[in-house]
Amino acid sequence: MSADMKTPLAKVRGHGAAGSGVHHHIAARVSAIILALVTPIFLYGLLTAFPDGYDGLVDWLSGPVGAFSAIAFIGAGLYHGRLGMNEVILDYLGGSLRTVCLLANTLACLGFGLIGILSILKIWLGA
């Protein structure tokens, strides 16, 4: 019997993508571009408000720039983070642990994202 000399790459060439890889790739890049634009504004606002304690931070989030940049940072950050963490889980975990971690990843990003965004909305709308 002759050995199979074809490499795995040669076997899959021409068969197209396995699934949703293109969407994953584009979604990661688009959220990365949003984050690249928002992060400097967010970080500047957070760091300048930080030394003034509670009052400084609430003042910052009560303004439109602070509230907008914080919500955009948390929203895009967790969306981007969920995509990245998914990739890490798929790279290193198998079996039922993989399923549980993928589920936990989605639930954590949705749950904490809602907590963060609702908290900022409460401060912004309550001001």
Binding site: L35, Y92, L93, G95, S96, G116
Partner: protein, 132 residues
């Protein structure tokens, strides 16, 4: 690595067989900083909730945030965020098909790591000055 893993191929990123060089280090740092920043954003959400809970809610965290540990985590978090941001922009340049020259890649890797450390140090230095 974990139970149920049935793929016989070697697992990325092959830390034990790769020769260490700057672009490999920057790739590993990118993934590592991404994982830590993931938990950082979750922490940020909890922080926002404590702010929304009013001054009493914030009091619980204030002791930790404005302590030497808080200053250290400011340095680490800013460093990782700025590193991931700069290296992420480089990933976008790579996506455009540019910047693959090996020598230049290694130089830019080291420059990005150094720049992130320097900017984080400046921010921390400024924060410590503003707090005292």
């Amino acid at each position: 690595m974990s139970a149920g893993w049935n793929d016989k191929r070697p697992m990325a990123p092959h830390l034990s067989v790769w020769k260490w060089h700057p672009t490999m280090l920057s790739s590993i740092l990118h993934r590592m900083s991404g994982i830590i920043l993931y938990f950082g954003v979750i922490k940020l959400c909890i922080f926002a909730a404590s702010l929304a809970a009013g001054p009493d809610g914030f009091d619980m965290l204030e002791g930790i945030i404005y302590s030497p540990l808080g200053v250290l985590s400011c340095f680490v978090a800013c460093g990782l965020l700025i590193y991931h941001l700069l290296n992420g922009i480089r990933h976008l340049v790579w996506d455009a098909g540019k910047g693959f020259d090996p020598v230049r890649s290694n130089q830019i890797s080291l420059a990005i790591i150094a720049a992130a450390g320097l900017i984080a140090a400046l921010i921390t230095f400024w924060i410590v000055g503003a707090l005292s």
